[in-house]
């Protein structure tokens, strides 16, 4: 089944209107003194347990806003 996400501007819309922006992972690490290994770990490595996570989404086929929401990868649905 498809599902809907809650855009802060447009309200609940079909997921295919949105682009997945990945997990919310805090600020990018400071560039000064950042080793190559730390850089690759930050850009590519993820912890994806089967439990709700904070994510970024982009409403590309709607109002064009980037927003954060909490969604459960085990059910695909938003968690309020």
């Amino acid at each position: 089944m498809t599902f809907r996400l809650t855009c802060p501007v447009c309200g609940k819309r079909d997921v295919y209107e949105f682009t997945f922006g990945g997990q919310e992972r805090g600020p990018r690490p400071e560039q000064d003194g950042l080793s190559a290994e730390e850089h690759f770990r930050w850009t590519q490595f993820r912890l994806i347990p089967n439990e709700p996570q904070e994510e970024w989404w982009y409403h590309g086929q709607g109002c064009g806003v980037w927003f954060r929401t909490t969604r459960d990868p085990g059910t695909n649905r938003e968690v309020r």
Binding site: M1, T2, F3, V15, Y16, T19, F20, Q23, A36, E37, F40, R41, Q44, F45, R46, L47, I48, P49, N50, E55, R71, P73, G74, T75, N76
Partner: protein
């Protein structure tokens, strides 16, 4: 009338408190590893833990195409050996895996794609794997009914014909491996969900499951698309996105498609099963998830793409749609690793689109890795550490741009 009584292919086994080797995941990779641990390495204490039923995950959800037409030499070598194992296993397991060596054809829809296809064919020929570049007319000889006109949005420029490829009955592989493993003393526990992994002094000591705690000396995470969730139980970060791929079948009809084909531009692969249905798929949902959700959105897209390539299919009905997980890595090559910070812990994951065709060969070498503790030379290119050294596999240089993770 004893011949009428159904015979079990694998025996129910008592759940022991401790096994030398525990494999998480009762799919093709896990069962093949257990099979080779028992068969080749003579290990008598092996358990396979499966949270649902064996073959529930990607092993029973793929579209059953097997091939060795990867982009890089190290990947082609691995998949080629995998391809040669189907007839061997059919014999060894005494179980018909229904390997149909029908060949595969990858269509190119631009001159850039054709250049990519020429590179693929050169790589395959370099390592002695049969592949050739076809022009549009030759493509239509292999796949009757292709629309060669300029009417499609992406007209056909040619293709890569790969005769060693084919299709294999995926359930038969699961059952055959379970039969072979069980006959050699492997305990297969279905409905046994792993809920945690125990460690002590940097060693793996066991797993906590829905059926109780089980001790082990060596543990293999071979849970397909769920591998990143299992690794997360130990806080192990991986460069893996678990995503659902959707697949579907039409109603069955007379055999007409004698070769499996795919198109990167249209995001379609299709083959006619031995039952006569067209099994097709390729679409991937963008958000990480561990569900098996299928959507009408891709059903519609798949129908449009198939009809565009093969107008005669207009009006054919889809009967079923399903989805399975693909664990995507940034370089489209797998991760087979035994150095994860815990002694005795092994990981076989990140197979993405390619988990089915690689199952037996991955199991063979993971068994060797786990039994000896030494990484087989053929697995050297698939270390986890390559992602921290910026030494990616060149697999993404194949024809398609896969998605946002590569």
């Amino acid at each position: 009338m004893s011949w009428l009584r159904p015979r079990r292919l694998w025996r129910p086994a008592p759940l022991e408190r401790h096994y030398e080797f525990v494999i998480i995941g009762g799919g093709i990779h896990g069962l093949a590893t257990a099979y080779y641990l028992a068969r080749t390495h003579g290990i008598e204490s092996v358990a396979v833990l499966e949270s649902h039923y064996i073959g529930f995950g990607g092993s029973g959800r793929n579209t059953a195409i097997v091939r060795a037409n990867q982009r890089t030499v190290e990947n082609v070598r691995l998949y080629e050996e995998g391809l040669k194992l189907w007839p061997v296993l059919t014999d060894e397991l005494d179980f018909n895996l229904m390997f149909f060596n029908c060949g595969t054809l990858n269509l190119g829809h631009s001159e850039a794609a054709m250049n990519g296809i020429r590179m693929l064919a050169s790589t395959h020929n370099l390592v002695g794997v049969k592949s050739e570049v076809l022009d549009p007319q030759q493509c239509a000889e292999v796949i009757p009914g292709l629309d060669l006109s300029d009417r499609p949005a992406f007209p056909i420029h040619g293709g890569l014909y790969h005769p060693p490829g084919g299709i294999v009955r995926h359930d038969a592989v699961v059952w055959g491996l379970a039969k072979g493993a069980s006959a050699r003393g492997v305990h297969i526990h279905q409905g046994c969900e792993v809920q945690g992994i125990d460690t002590s002094d940097g060693r793996v000591t066991g797993v906590r499951t829905s059926l109780g705690s089980i001790g082990c000396d060596r543990l293999g995470i071979m849970a397909g698309g769920y591998g990143s969730a299992v690794a997360a139980m130990l806080g192990i970060e991986l460069p893996i996105h678990p995503l659902t791929i959707q697949a579907m079948v039409t109603h069955p009809f007379k055999p007409f498609l004698h070769t499996a084909f795919s198109s990167g531009a249209y995001h379609v692969y299709a083959n006619q099963t031995l039952k006569g249905e067209i099994a097709t798929g390729a679409h991937m949902d963008p958000q990480v998830n561990y569900t098996n959700d299928a959507t009408a959105y891709y059903l519609k897209h798949q129908a449009e793409a198939l009809v565009e390539l093969m107008p005669a299919l207009r009006g054919v009905r889809f009967m079923r749609i399903w989805s399975g997980l693909a664990d995507m890595t940034p370089d489209m090559a797998p991760i087979m690793e035994g150095e994860l910070g815990y002694e005795g812990l092994y990981l076989d994951a990140g197979w993405g689109y390619f988990g089915f065709k690689s199952g037996p060969v991955a199991g063979k070498y993971m068994a060797q890795y786990m039994a000896s503790g030494e990484r087989p030379e053929i697995l050297a290119p698939f270390r986890l550490g390559r992602f921290l050294e910026n030494r990616y596999s060149g697999e993404t240089a194949a024809v398609m741009k896969y998605g946002h993770w590569d």
